[in-house]
Amino acid sequence: MSPLDSLYRDPDTARITLDRPADYLHAEHTLRSWFFTTDHKRIALLYLASITGFFVLGAIAAGLVRLSLVVPNGVIFTNDTYNKLFTMHGVIMVWFFLIPSIPATFGNFLIPLMIGAKDLAFPRLNLLSWYVFMTGALFTMVVLIVGGVDTGWTFYAPFSTTYSNFYVIPALIGVIIVGFSSILTGLNFIVTIHKMRCPGMTWFRMPIFVWTLYATSLIFLLGTPVITLALILLVMERAFHIGVFDPKLGGDPVLFEHLFWFYSHPAVYIMVLPGMGVVTELVAAFSQKRVFGYRFVAYASIGLASITFFVWGHHMFVNGQSQLASTVFSFLSFAVAVPSAVKVYNWTATIHKGAIRLDTPMLYAMGYIGLFVLGGLTGLFLATLAVDAHLHDTYFVVAHFHYIMVGGTMLAFLGGLHYWWPKFTGRMYPEAWGRVGALLIFIGFNVTFFPQFILGYLGMPRRYHVYPPEFQLLNVLSSAGSTILALGYFFPMIYLVWSLWFGKRAPANPWQAKGLEWTTSSPPPAHNFLAIPRVDFEPYDYPIKAPERA
């Protein structure tokens, strides 16, 4: 083994950034060097800054929605304002925060680092996709704030095509544009993972995070064009009245729902899969133990990405879909439980007999597992035909998908952010504050959304501005929880920014974690590695190992 190889195998954990040549953050300081960069790491930070901005706007809208629901008679906002607020919340959070969140930030930053490449396969395309994203997102944002759209994030026809206000058209165009950005990102990742792996980096030596992002990119590539088309048809319907979704001419609004959910159901996995990847990294690193059943976890990622394209009809059980189609979709939806169960049980088995450190990222990971399990299993409730006939379009659904999207994606995002923060910035975040923040978010989240399961079961429909008085108590509880949640979000926002200047300098590998990204300095140099790495070891070869098989 050459000295260089041993460096990759056992990186010097005490090595500090200061003695290195200029890293990617300090190579250049001009604005130009940021806005015209082709370095995947800088582009990742551009994404991080922009989606954080969108998250804040979406969260403000959510806060106002919860504020309105404190009273049952809807006197705080008018009906129109309320409808615009929840649309704003949904559109921003789904299209501009959750979908790009982990892929465009962590994926962009980490894929080349984790597979030992100098950059993504198409660096300029990567920059272009950020500009495309910003163009579409800012455009829609302006429309949402100035004009206001009241269709909900699902844009169902014929309401959006005939009855809602004119601003639907520009809002849709913005979303279509953002779709192209996802496609370009997915394309870039797929080609990179196939073709840019360093010598020795076989498929089964890749971290699970890379596997999940590969699966996610497949969804970007195969699903996004269909929603693009569906939204184009919606714009055409609105602008020229082409009739495909207009029942007056014989068109079928259910067709829009088919085209919409063909993408939008898999989109849930765009949000969840990368989160699973992050959590797998966290669980392994903070248990200092190999991922249990690595291959199954890897296959499960691809399996989820494929099965998810067969189940979209479970959003349409009571929408006039045929009974046979509903039954088939219901059955296939249960199949999603198989790869999901693999993930959860294998994480648990990974933690078993590890050397566990309960640092902030691990707290988020454990929270994630709990919330994801609840969210996933309530999803099976909704996939059960007779149950869905009761719970469809109630607060039960709202609670379910927030458990998946906030409890799942958001917690994984925050966990990953803390875990890789030293790698991104070269600074450590303050651990104590981090733990308090994680705890607050976990508590706030559950207080906000658990009551909504009960509300839904009691029969409170979603998107209601005025609701029957018997639901007030649970709604007040939920709104109270959302203030705790909001407070929790403030913590990382403040201390992470603080740490940029005052945080402790980070060593190359603060967590004694395995993976190529920890073998390079924090922050990494411009082309990631001083020499191209060569891999001759298995992934996650942490010190605690099972005895070799005889």
């Binding site: 196939h194 195969l222 269909v226 259910v254 088919h258 063909f262 394209f309 067969f310 979209w312 009809g313 006039g320 879909q321 045929s322 009974q323 046979l324 189609a325 088939v328 979709f329």
Partner: protein, 96 residues
Amino acid sequence: MTREDRATLWRHMRAPVLSFVALMALLAVNVVLGATLPFRAVWVAEAVVVVCMVLTVLLVSMEVWSEPPLVRVFSALGFFWLLILFGMTLVDYLTR
């Protein structure tokens, strides 16, 4: 252009020219079928012709035939997903 050059050119252009001829012939079949409508279920024959044309373009013109397996998988991937979209949607439309 010398004889050798011509020979070289023909050696490389044979596949594209042959596929061109095949495509034109298949198109002619479809046009005739479309213009005359010889029998009721003619759409089946037309669909078969289209599948042949698509395969010709994919395998010969786009050279999938001689590409490594990865590219072949990607060229088939889109069609497979198209079948998912069609199949699952039609399960609804054909049984309403």
